[in-house]
Symmetry: C2
Subunit: 292 residues, 2 copies
DNA sequence: GCAGATATCTGACTTATGTCAGCTATCTTC
DNA sequence: GAAGATAGCTGACATAAGTCAGATATCTGC
């Protein structure tokens, strides 16, 4: 069984490296070496700081310098000293550079679309890819404080609501839970965090504050494909850190018996059950935790 | 939805290329450039013919020549003119080469094992990897005529029986279906085919002959992860070709109503239903097809 | 303002990889 | 056995990628 498993993983590696050789070569086909294309891509993704690019792509200082010069020579980027530290340099796309970047994006998109079109069960394929990507990329999952009214936040909330609808016998209607107040999820009252894996949101948590010394944890969500990787713990830790930094000493949350893994996790991490503290129709379990 | 799908595929590509950069570098760490290691690997996998290696790895004739020379210099391989065409050369591993090849294999295995160990749901991860690998590698699925008593054949049969057990209400007992007669699955009576995706068996079919002008199709199996890729058609085509080359003009098969996709496929590809022609307890549908 | 740290750049070098034309030995066909 | 095809080898060259030791400008802490 184990040796069969290893054979399967190795087959996967072969299949994927062969294919992603082709995927990477979508960066080619525009008459530019891979290294140069990768840097252009990094700048296009908003990585302007030279040091940041170097770090992200793992390039030598001298090598990156030459690549930047080459992109400048092509008229695709301009570099200038950073405003707050003249030793540092920042790179920005020129108009031609933005066009070229977009051309690479379009190529990548077309490539991805092609894989989808050729598969009989695209949804199953996507789910499998998500699972694999989360597993392989678990060390690269990062949790960022985000705008609770942003596009990614809405993406997370919709998946969270969909999950609740599946779990609850009676379904779930986001409207009944009351309208959200984004200010309560933003500093100085509260905070909002999204967990990203290579740019895809795969989890979130709200710290909903009222300007008092207690706050609520809401909408703790982890994507199916990322379950079991300890992401819920990390999100909760981020929320608790934020709470402490806002002078909040007590957290509360409500939940439902149809979410037993969550309840088990709360009990294991210092939460204790308390009486109902709101009249929300969905929750039937209420927890509290003292911080600090 | 579509643009979300594309984002997910691209995230997958990023995650996997980053990780498989690490995977490929397991080929490194032994003080040998990737190209050289790949050739050593190809020879270790039984690719002795120089032209075959060149084709498989997509290398330039001159480049491969130099790499072979370098491996010879290290004492890992020997090359000699081919017995039946002295222009061609064949490469073989020396003892030191076999050891070095094994060292690479062990590294790859350890790397794969490591991925498994770190995941909370290894079986789900493997299933997802299989699905992705079959999808990406569908152009590289090849069907080979194999020994029906070999290790891979037994692997396929076990998965086939497991599938039937799941499908049939009353389960499935391979013993009741009668003992296999390997000679009937080998030329000149019959034939046996396995579909391989990067070395992993993902489908099979038996052409079971009796030295007469009709034969039976048995154990047509396609792995879950490879459904929908047209593999059953390709396996059947291989079996039909083999039948024609053996002078067989009529094929028969039996199946069960719990395998509706298979029955639908038979009806669409020239098979017509006939009365029961054996007393096997499991089948309840019987088909025939005229070839040529 | 000075010492030491930091960020980037330049030049000189190496290695890996790929390309191509021409060479030699061998095979196939007539 | 001669003509042309084929397989692999060699030499000459090109490019991509990476390494490393200074050089230069700037920042930070004292």
């Amino acid at each position: 069984m184990t040796s069969d498993s290893i054979a399967r993983i190795r087959r996967f590696n072969r299949a994927v490296t062969t294919e992603t050789g082709a995927l990477d070569s979508s960066f080619l086909g525009r008459g530019r070496p891979l290294g140069v294309a990768r840097v252009l891509n990094a700048v296009g993704h908003g990585m302007t700081d030279v040091a940041e690019i170097r770090d992200y792509l793992g390039l030598d200082s001298g090598l990156l310098s030459r690549i930047l010069r080459s992109l400048e020579g092509e008229g695709l980027i301009t570099t200038a000293p950073s405003a707050d530290d003249a030793r540092r340099r920042v790179a920005t796309l020129t108009e031609a550079g933005a066009q070229e970047y977009q051309a690479y994006e379009d190529l990548s998109d077309a490539q991805a679309q092609n894989i989808l079109n050729r598969h009989p069960k695209p949804q199953a394929l996507l789910a499998a890819m998500d699972l694999v990507a989360s597993a392989l990329g678990r060390d690269r999952i990062d949790i960022r404080e985000c705008d609770p009214a942003g596009e990614d936040a809405i993406y997370c909330f919709n998946l969270y609501f969909a999950e609740l609808s599946r779990r609850f016998e009676e379904g779930y209607d986001a409207v009944k839970a009351g309208p959200p107040d984004a200010d309560q999820m933003r500093r100085p009252k509260g905070a909002f965090f999204i967990a990203y894996s290579d740019g895809l949101p795969i989890g979130c948590v709200i710290l909903k504050g009222y300007g008092r010394d207690w706050a609520e944890i809401k909408r703790l969500w982890v994507a199916d494909s990322a379950r079991g990787l300890g992401l819920a713990h990390r999100l909760m830790a981020a929320a608790e850190d934020a709470a402490l930094s806002l002078g909040i000493t007590t957290l509360r949350l409500d939940t439902n018996h149809r979410l037993p893994e969550a309840i088990a996790m709360y009990r294991k991490t210092g939460w204790y059950e308390i009486p109902r503290f709101n009249d929300d129709p969905y929750p039937d379990h209420f927890f509290e935790k003292k911080l600090g």
